[in-house]
Amino acid sequence: MAGNLKQNKKSASGRLSPGIARMILLLLLLFLAEFFFHTWCGVQCIRTGYEITAAEKRQDELLEMQKSLQVELARLTAPQALSQVAARRFHLKTPAPEQVVVLP
């Protein structure tokens, strides 16, 4: 009888109370959640890095395209090109001074 009582006391003192157990479990869950969150942040950071790099590359490409379009525009609006189009396609020529009417 005395032996059984001793064994029960031992087990009672070795077992955690439900409150503490829940707290530990909660802390473990929090730790786990934080761990996953940290990992997710890292992954997101790298993924965003890739996206930024891709966007920068795209920006460079678009700027380059803009530059080449500007060059093309400059080429097409060059006085030589315009005068050729004006003369050949539209048969235009510089008006003689006596053809110029100055509006008041």
Binding site: I52, E56, E64, Q70, V71, E72, A74, A78, P79, P97
Partner: protein, 584 residues
């Protein structure tokens, strides 16, 4: 009892084993913990640096060269991103078969690619100006041994327009001629430095730009107007071709500000492929090459006479009926005259009249006035290789030298000097510094520097300038030598020049001439001053016949473009209207 003893013994042994295993595990974990502490705490910084060094890399790249714009912000020179493609011949497998693919992609001849790939060299260039698209296409073919080096190449969208003014850059991107050379420090881009972080696959996932403020070069905004430049080049080309001349040049300037609107040369070259043209075509001869101006110089001789106060516009000069001996030499006039008034010396372009004027005022006054007009010294224009021309000190002049200089021989000037000097007459006697750059901007178009009009001082008084102006107006009248220079509706003040060219022997030949016309218009508020020089024309050689029509064409088209209205009370205008009505 015995069983209990055995059981206890078994439990003790089990506990001992557990203890041993526990100690072992504790030891192992302890070692791991210690190692972790050593790695994470003690060697933390060192190892972090090593790790980042493996995936981080500092990258340097050349910045884009600045753009050159005309006065209306039209691109005249632009840098485009290109790829230089090279090859390591020993690493290229089956050069015979891949050369066809490379040639097809890069628009090169197969034979030349194959020849390069078979060369006994560690590295060869295949094409240094490949567009990004072509480079991507070539990369997708997966040819081993090729190298792709990104960079920039210079493009001139207007091709030969203002080629000598702009100049060009070399393959390394540095300016070699013209403004590209003169303003290289402004135009050249800085180094772009950034740190890239790559993953295990070599993909970049982070880029850190250190300082991008000096990455791109500065832009130049010129005073050149691409349209007036084109008009000038066209008129000059027509004159050179019509008279089968060796070459020609023309300069257009705004007299009030000194802004150069056009500098044209013929023959010209295309700066996109400058190596295909002879070197002499690259030079901006309007700035670098001196020439004898001929009769145009009479303007300044008469200017010196008026400024000295010793002669008046009505003063008579004996022109000796076309033949005059001085200093042991004979001076002739093409059209003989007996007595001419001072103002008629300009109108009829009398050599003897000019020589006599120089005699009367003396070398010192003539020299001083020529210096005041900027002859014999650099104008300070922002172009490379400017010549100061040649004007010897008056103390070194012989009698014949003084006479020759009075009508434009024995003195040499640059085109830009001459047009500046005539602009001073248009500008009430104030000599302006010619300028070709209007502003410097950064890569975003923000203005960093502006170049304001700058006066070089007064050449002659307002009265003298006005008197010279009226003489120049008379020189383009129907009786004057420059009548071909006047477009209907626009009064022109001008002067012709027909200068014999000095041969290598130092003598003047009767077959080689420079035909010159310089003037400005309209008379009252001059908008443009124009100089046309046609070198060695064949059919005709008079400035009034060869150069004056080119001047007229430039003025007419430029004023039409600039919306300068024609003067309806002008005599030429009335005649033109009459002709048109009769034709109708």
């Amino acid at each position: 009892m015995k069983q209990t003893k055995v059981t206890r013994e078994r439990i003790r042994r089990r506990n001992r084993r557990i203890m041993v295993v526990g100690v072992l595990f504790t030891l192992c974990y302890g070692i791991i913990g210690l190692k972790a502490f050593y790695v994470q705490v003690i060697r933390d910084a060192d190892l972090s640096r090593q790790a980042s060094g493996e995936c981080k890399k500092a990258v340097q790249a050349d910045g884009r060269r600045g753009t050159i714009y005309d006065v209306n912000m039209k691109e005249l020179a632009v840098s485009m991103r290109t790829v230089a493609v090279g090859a390591h011949p020993e690493a290229v497998q089956a050069p015979g078969s891949v050369s066809g693919k490379i040639a097809g992609t890069l628009d090169l001849s197969r034979a030349s690619v194959q020849k390069r790939l078979c060369r006994d060299s560690t590295f060869v260039w295949l094409d240094r100006k490949v567009s990004s698209m072509q480079a991507e296409k070539l990369k997708s073919l997966g040819i081993a041994g090729l190298e792709y080096i990104p960079g920039f190449s210079r493009l001139y969208p207007n091709k030969s327009l203002a080629a000598q003014v702009l100049g060009f850059t070399g393959v390394e991107g540095g300016g070699l001629e013209g403004l590209e050379y003169y303003y290289n420090d402004y135009l050249q881009g800085g180094e772009k430095r950034c740190t890239v972080v790559r993953d295990a696959m070599g993909r970049i996932f982070h880029r850190e730009v250190e300082d991008s403020s000096h990455e791109a070069g500065k832009n130049l905004v010129l005073t050149i107007d691409a349209n007036i430049q084109y008009i000038t080049e066209n008129a000059l080309e027509a004159a050179v071709k019509k008279y089968r001349a060796r070459s020609g040049l023309a300069v257009v300037m705004v007299p009030a500000t000194g802004a150069i609107r056009a500098i044209a040369h013929y023959p010209t070259f295309n700066p996109n492929c400058f190596t295909d043209y002879p070197r002499y075509r690259w030079r901006n001869r309007a700035i670098t090459d001196p020439f004898e101006p001929g009769s145009v110089m009479k303007l300044f001789t008469v200017g010196a006479a008026l400024e000295s106060g010793r002669l008046a516009p009505q003063t008579f000069i004996d022109c000796e009926d076309g033949r005059y001996r001085t200093g042991g030499h004979v001076i002739n006039d093409i059209h003989p005259h007996e007595m001419l008034r001072l103002r008629e010396v300009v109108k009829y372009s009398s050599n003897i009249g000019a020589a006599k004027i120089a005699e009367r005022i003396g070398g010192k006054i003539l020299y001083k006035t020529l210096k005041d007009f900027g002859f014999g010294q650099k104008t300070g224009i922002d172009c490379p290789g400017e010549t100061s021309g040649r004007l010897r000190h008056y103390q070194n002049w012989r009698t014949i030298d003084r006479a020759n200089i009075a009508f434009g021989q024995g003195v040499s000037v640059s085109a830009v000097q001459l047009v500046s000097a005539v602009s001073a007459i248009a500008n009430e006697g104030i000599l302006m510094k010619p300028r070709i750059v209007k502003a410097v901007t950064n890569q975003h178009g923000k203005i960093l520097e502006t170049r304001e009009p700058e006066s070089r001082g007064r050449a002659v008084s307002v009265d003298t300038a006005r008197q010279l102006k009226s003489m120049m107006l008379a020189a383009t009248s129907s009786e004057g030598t420059g009548s071909n220079a006047v477009p209907a509706g626009y009064p022109v003040c001008g002067k012709t020049g027909t200068a014999q060219k000095l041969t290598e022997k130092g003598t003047y030949e009767d077959c080689e001439y420079n035909a010159v016309f310089v003037g400005f218009s309209p008379e009252n508020q001059p908008e443009l001053a124009v100089l046309v020089v046609v070198n060695e024309p064949r059919e005709q050689h008079f400035g009034g016949v060869v150069a004056a029509p080119a001047f007229r064409s430039i003025i007419l088209e430029a004023f039409n473009y600039m919306d300068v209205p024609p003067h309806h009370k002008d005599r030429h205008y009335d005649l033109a209207v009459k002709d048109r009505e009769q034709g109708a």
